[in-house]
């Protein structure tokens, strides 16, 4: 285990974290589930790679361009599908994610299904770290702002927040666009880390992996997402000696998490200096209350 290898895993975790943070805003704080975020990563990745390779843009503007394109695309998708309820919004995002991948499969300009090699290697440990820190600070501020509180209100009780005058559709759309922009940046980072892009990299499996990380970390907790991304990205690497069996264990552990600890690692708590102090003072108190939306309906 040399330092270079560990750094590589941390970079992968950082890239994953970037899109997990966006998804955390959408899922954990606005209460909508997406199975198409790999599609937004693909858009961000291909756009930023196009900018650096074909137009010679510097790295950061190219990343931002990728984020912007992903956000615009998500606005279009959101306009069409945000009124769908629960399961159907999930299915719609799944459809969009796969459709984006299949379109890229057929675009010869980007190399089609064979992939696109020769993207410059701009992503390094330092800029992944800095971008992630900035992203976390921005996200924390969004959540504490008026807009963020409105999003949480939408998550808690959609109808009630509509009645008190929150434009539910608008805040869902804002949340979706911000999360798509985060995914777009993650895609750009990934493109310039792998130096190779292939539509296959952004399949449904990737989208599922991101949602699993958010839930594993704990819905409604940024620090949970950070921990989740670190643990779940390095887990397959730690299990690498099991080769074929690692994904078997991974699938099994997903089921076990869902069954045994649905509130995730952090369960809605944040890990900040002040919350740490509070935690120590009430170590013996019982488990915290889950956000209301996590309690489940009365379907069965």
């Amino acid at each position: 285990m040399d330092l270079y290898y560990i750094q590589g895993i941390l970079m992968l975790a950082g890239i994953n974290l970037m899109s997990v943070l966006g998804l955390s805003l959408l899922t954990g704080f606005t209460g909508m589930f997406s199975f198409g975020h790999a599609g937004f990563m693909a858009i961000g990745g291909y756009t930023s790679a196009m900018m650096t390779v074909n137009y010679g843009w510097p790295f950061i503007p190219a990343l931002l361009m990728g984020a912007l394109t992903a956000a615009l695309m998500s606005a279009l998708i959101g306009k069409l599908t945000l009124n769908l309820k629960g399961d159907y919004f999930c299915i719609a995002t799944l459809g969009f994610g796969e459709a984006i991948r299949l379109v890229l499969d057929n675009v010869q300009y980007f190399g089609g299904a064979r992939g696109w090699p020769g993207i410059p290697n701009y992503t390094n440990f330092t800029n992944v770290l800095i971008i992630n820190i900035i992203a976390i600070i921005i996200l924390a501020n969004i959540i504490r702002s008026r807009q963020g509180r409105n999003m949480i209100a939408v998550r808690e009780e959609e109808l009630a927040s509509q009645i008190v005058g929150i434009n539910v559709f608008k805040y869902k759309l804002i949340s979706l666009m911000i999360s798509a922009a985060y995914a777009g940046i993650a895609g750009g980072l990934m493109a310039h880390y792998m130096t190779f892009l292939q539509p296959k990299m952004f399949s449904l499996v990737k989208s599922t992996e991101l949602t699993i990380i958010v839930i594993f970390g704990g819905l409604g907790s940024i620090s949970g997402s950070v921990l989740g991304a670190l643990v779940l990205t390095s887990l397959p690497e730690i299990l690498r000696s099991f080769s074929n069996w690692r994904l078997v264990i991974y699938g099994l552990s997903v089921i076990v998490i869902m069954i045994s600890r649905p509130e995730g690692l952090m369960g809605g708590y944040e890990l900040t200096p002040s919350s740490m102090k509070k935690l120590f003072t009430r170590m013996r108190s019982k488990k915290g209350n889950l956000p209301k939306s996590m309690e489940g309906g009365d379907t069965l």
């Binding site: 999930c90 078997v248 089921i255």
Partner: protein, 292 residues
């Protein structure tokens, strides 16, 4: 014209197998209100079971068929007991079911890769490959078998749902789980039967797919199409699932026949999005009101 007829027949044959898989998705959705993504893994295992029953045990064709369908039926129930029942008891939101289903599907796919290996396996030649000539249209023997077996299975399903006591219980439970439980229906048993039925048909569909193509661990991806078909027809509606599947099969073969097979999958997903945007309840699904 003959080309059109040919594509139509191919579409019908592939669509009927989609229908066998789609009813599995729809049955589960109608009772439990979530998309059971582990279904694809069950279909894949059905294809493998069929392969081993035929080659290793040397069972006759129809015995192997029924045997693998029974095995997957049991397997589907085991998945329900392990991955969904604990969630059901906790009244977890639908998303936890979906994630759990995805976990199960990752598990099934990779346990096959880890034990059997990722290589392709091809079924022994059960039916002769020489097609039947009907005027200007050629009819593959496998395609014809696929269509006939699927049609028989679907007819049996309709009979079961409409004319047996358990079928009536399934219908009642799909209206309201709570009310049916109050009326003395054992809803837990209904859920077991629903998973067993879905698994049974998944096994048959898996063997049919294995016969037509080959068997490999990622065959479950093809079954996503049948999920699209179920959404297209209206999730939770059995006639919708059948109609949606046949239509999707025909649309797919027409696309590969007249445009390019590269666009076949794309068309399927574009169709999915279009139906969700314009008519989310599908062709025949019930329109559900949000009760807040």
């Amino acid at each position: 014209m003959s080309r059109f007829l040919q594509q139509l027949i191919n579409g019908l044959s592939i669509g009927s197998v989609y229908a066998l898989m789609a009813v599995g998705y729809s049955l589960v959705y109608s009772i439990m209100n979530f998309s059971n993504f582990a279904h694809g893994g069950v279909i894949m295992l059905g294809a493998y079971f069929g392969y081993y029953y035929l080659t290793k045990l040397g069972l006759p064709f129809f015995v192997a068929f029924i045997a693998s369908a029974l095995t997957t039926g049991i397997l589907a129930v085991v998945i329900e007991r392990g991955a969904y029942k604990p969630l059901r008891e906790r009244k977890a939101p639908f998303l936890y079911f979906i994630i759990s289903a995805m976990g199960a599907s990752i598990f099934l796919e990779n346990i096959v890769i880890a034990t059997i290996g990722p290589t392709f396996k091809s079924y022994p030649e059960i039916l002769s490959r020489t097609p039947i000539q009907l005027g200007s249209v050629t009819l593959g023997r496998i395609d014809l078998t696929m269509f006939i077996i699927s049609a028989i299975c679907l007819a049996l399903l309709v009979f079961f749902i409409d004319f047996t006591k358990m079928g009536k219980a399934i219908q009642a439970t799909s209206y309201s789980v709570k009310a049916s439980a109050l009326m003395g229906i054992n809803t837990d048993l209904v859920i077991i039967v629903v998973f067993a039925l879905g698994g049974f048909f998944a096994g048959i569909a898996g063997v049919l797919f294995g016969m037509k193509y080959t068997v490999y661990p990622q065959i479950g991806i093809i079954t996503n199409k049948s999920f699209i078909a179920a959404v297209f027809g209206g999730l939770g509606s059995l006639p919708g699932a059948v109609v949606g599947s046949i239509l999707l099969g025909i649309i797919e073969t027409m696309t590969s026949g007249y445009l390019s097979s590269n666009y076949r999958d794309l068309i399927a997903f574009v169709l999915l999005i279009a139906i969700l945007v314009f008519r989310p309840s599908g062709l025949m699904g019930k329109i559900t009101e949000d009760k807040a």
